[in-house]
């Protein structure tokens, strides 16, 4: 019998689960059948073999913050192209942000996105619901209807905009408790950031781009953790980017507030110095900050203050980036470079282990998104076979045009990054083999 991508059993030989001791891992019927010492596994008949050569096996990555652009901006990305890129990046689940057109603020839209994800079959797509109607920050969207829909929405966010009205934010934090939801706040005080183009500081002063003060982010985070404490809700802070934000979250956690925080790969490595060349590929919201902030978010991620890394994958068409900085769209792609950036900044620097990577890129985001029944599981017998196999010794030069995402706005164009996703498995089916996405409908002979 020829094993196929859909149905076959797999033996991953000599892989290192969470970077630990080598083992043979057998996948069958969508679950991890066996984890055994090398050479001792009982291999099912006709199982396909992947030679692990000491590669690192992690639970499939979970992105809590992905912009798939569909519906509305299919010219930049679709659910199909975006989830394919996610699989290539080692993800098995993504949360699709709500700022589509129409906005994902009704059960109808979130179910549409959920269904598109199912049809595509590359990763599990979990739509994020908008907190307010049309992201306008004026009245609550029907959060309960989205929670009860087929999409089972648990994460709500107006991402791209901030829920800045304090009473509205309070109500949202309280209301989602009814279905164990979480509000993921895009922390950006709007009045302090009118027309803002980049981090406010030495570089903005010199190159004449309107500044985006750190306090505009920190003030909202400070307010929100206090609100969350007051109403006893959980709060998730999207893409925090400043040293001050890290300190506030650290303080809130010490106080026992139920807050989680995320950082993007790009805020772990890039700084506002990159704006000097006025290349809009470096224009992003929140903006790239200073080297001091980069160090603070790395430290926060290592010590657990920051719970997760999320990509904020924001594909844009060439037209939206091939223009003046002031006219360009905010955002950069991230799905296919996230793991490499985390390896480079956290693992290769000795600040984190691969087990920590599994925690911040899989276990924690799955738990925050309440999909931890299927994702972010341990690599153990009986667990769902959502896995990614990584070759940490590989290295590659990033080429935006060659990426799987439909857009090419990567800030890492031309740079060398470590690590490579060798294979991704979604419920025991290979979505990526030998670094190449495998069409779910195709038969693969291993």
């Amino acid at each position: 019998m020829t094993p196929t991508a859909t149905t076959g059993a797999w033996v991953l030989r000599s892989v290192r689960p969470l970077g630990g001791e080598p083992a043979d891992v057998v996948l069958a019927d969508g679950v991890v059948r066996q984890v055994a010492a090398p050479g001792t596994a009982s291999v099912p008949d006709g199982a396909a073999v992947v030679e692990g050569e000491g590669h690192v096996l992690l639970p499939g990555l979970v992105d809590l913050h992905t912009h798939l652009r569909e519906p509305g901006r299919e010219d930049a990305e679709t659910v199909l192209s975006g989830t394919r890129a996610a699989a290539a990046g080692g993800f098995t689940a993504v949360h699709a942000m709500a700022n589509t057109s129409p906005v994902a603020d009704t059960a109808g839209v979130v179910e549409q996105v959920w269904r598109l994800g199912q049809e595509a079959g590359w990763v599990d797509v979990h739509p994020v619901g908008a907190v307010t109607v049309g992201l306008d920050g004026e009245r609550l969207a029907e959060l309960g209807a989205m929670a009860d829909s087929k999409a089972r929405v648990r994460v709500f966010s107006d991402d791209g905009r901030c829920v800045h009205d304090p009473i509205l934010m309070r109500r949202a934090l309280e209301y989602v408790k009814a279905f164990d939801g979480v509000v993921a706040q895009h922390a950006q005080e709007p009045r302090l950031t009118e027309g803002a183009q980049m981090n406010e500081g030495v570089v903005s002063a010199e190159i004449g781009l309107a500044g985006w003060p750190a306090v505009a982010e920190e003030a909202i985070i400070a307010r929100d953790v206090l609100l969350a404490e007051h109403v006893g809700s959980r709060l998730h802070v999207c893409h925090l980017s400043t040293a001050g934000s890290v300190e506030i979250v650290r303080w809130a956690k010490a106080r026992g507030i139920d807050v989680t925080a995320e950082v993007t790969p790009h805020h772990l490595v890039l700084t506002d110095e990159l704006a000097r060349g006025y290349d809009p590929v470096f224009k992003v919201n929140p903006p790239l900050r200073t080297a001091k902030d980069v160090e603070a978010v790395r430290e926060g991620l290592a010590d657990g203050t920051i719970d997760i890394v999320a990509t904020d994958h924001a594909p844009h068409t060439r037209e939206d980036k091939d223009c003046e900085w002031g006219a360009a769209a905010f955002g950069m792609t991230g799905l296919e470079t996230a793991l490499s950036v985390v390896q480079q900044t956290m693992v290769d620097t000795g600040r984190m282990t691969w087990a920590d990577v599994a925690r911040v890129m899989s276990t924690n985001p799955a738990r925050i998104g309440r999909i931890d029944g299927a994702h972010g599981r341990p690599v153990e017998e009986g667990e769902p076979a959502n896995l990614v196999l990584v070759d940490p010794t590989a290295s590659r030069t990033v080429d935006g045009a060659a990426q799987v995402t439909a857009s090419s706005n990567t800030p890492f164009q031309g740079t060398q990054l470590p690590g490579r996703v060798v294979a991704t498995f979604l419920r025991g089916r290979a979505t990526v083999l030998d670094g190449v996405p495998v069409d779910p409908t195709s038969e693969v002979v291993a």
Binding site: R191, E194, Q197, E200, G201, V202, V203, S204, A205, E206, I207, G208, L209, A210, G211, P213, G277, Y278, D279, E319, D322, C323, E324, W325, G326, A327
Partner: protein, 334 residues
């Protein structure tokens, strides 16, 4: 020089060369026949994404005095209502065979993008880009004409001979730049150029109109105009234009009222009297008389505001000459 994008790119020698060349250009402008054949056959495009009749006319005059063909290309549009894209405009200009593009743009960095994007060709084929003011970033020819004006009045006459200070820098010249530094490309350009030329610059503004990060600039800052005038006795006082829209905006206004601004930061007769007799009063124009500068100050004997306009043509002639007259290969002036 390949492009003129920012005064930060100019070394002291380069800056002095521009000023010296401008002095020769200025000399030709007092002749009966003002036109020179120097740039015959070259095409200069004035590409204006933002209205500025004064600056456009100054560049147009400069280019025509050097016999270049001038094409005015107005491509108005804003970040809100985008017109033709910068890229397509650049490709068009390159196809039309422009040798230099003088660009005024609302977006900081647009000239930099034009120069380095490859949209205007590259290598031997490159089109010189001359920044005529971009967003709140830079306006290098304004700073150069300001430095030229200062040198004429404050350096050239020290030795007695009115030689326009040719060959000299501005070592030791004390300059106060007063007003909306935050939004001013003129201030940014001047701070760097004047420092490069050895002048001492103090920025004077309400704290709301100084950018965060100004502490790293090569100058000092003050919130108190009277104190600066009394203590520093500046040789030149440059008043920046206050944009009307900075006063409105309710809670976001940068100062309480025009009257209060004038009281604290306006150059009036009383403050004029605090200056040394040799001091000059400058303004990049257009002035808000009665707001940042009173009629007494604007029309005083020390005012060189009208002369700044004339010097602008000479400085722009010099910039065009230095960008276009030599081979396209990079190299210093011989």
């Amino acid at each position: 020089m390949k492009h003129l994008l920012s005064t930060q790119d100019l070394s002291k020698d380069e800056a002095v060369t521009v000023l010296d060349t401008a002095a020769q250009m200025a000399a030709t402008q007092s002749r009966e026949i003002k036109k020179l054949p120097t740039l015959r056959g070259r095409t200069v495009v004035n590409l204006f994404f933002e209205d500025s009749t004064r600056t456009r006319i100054s560049f147009e005059t400069a280019a025509k005095r050097l016999s270049a063909d001038v094409i005015n290309f107005s491509a108005k549009g804003s970040s809100v209502s985008k017109g033709e894209s910068l890229k397509d405009t650049a490709l068009t200009l390159h196809a039309m065979g422009a040798d230099a593009v003088v660009v005024r743009h609302w977006a900081s960095g647009a000239p930099h993008q034009l120069a380095y994007s490859g949209w205007l060709g590259g290598g031997d084929d490159h089109v010189a880009v001359l920044n005529a003011g971009d967003g709140t970033h830079q306006h290098p020819t304004q700073a150069l004409l300001d430095a030229f004006t200062m040198r004429r009045h404050l350096v050239g006459r020290v030795g007695g001979a009115p030689d326009d200070g040719v060959g000299s820098d501005l070592a030791g010249v004390k300059v106060a730049i007063v007003g909306d530094v935050l939004h001013s490309r003129v201030a940014r350009s001047n701070v760097h150029l004047l420092r490069t030329l050895g002048a001492d610059v103090e920025l004077v503004a309400p704290p709301t109109l100084l950018p965060v990060g100004v502490e790293t600039w090569p100058c000092t800052t003050s919130y108190d105009l009277d104190e600066t005038l009394a203590r520093r006795q500046p040789d030149a006082v440059m008043m920046l234009r206050v944009q009307r829209e900075r006063m409105s905006g309710g809670a976001g206004a940068f100062f309480p009222s025009p009257l209060e601004y004038t009281r604290r930061y306006g150059l009036d007769a009383r403050r004029l009297a605090m200056l040394p007799s040799h001091s000059i009063v400058m303004h990049p124009g257009p002035m808000n008389r009665g707001l940042e500068i009173s009629a007494e100050a604007a029309d005083s004997p020390g005012s060189v505001i009208v002369e700044q306009v004339a010097n602008g043509v000479a400085v722009r002639m010099a910039a065009l000459y230095l960008l276009l007259a030599g081979t396209s290969a990079e190299g210093s002036v011989q």
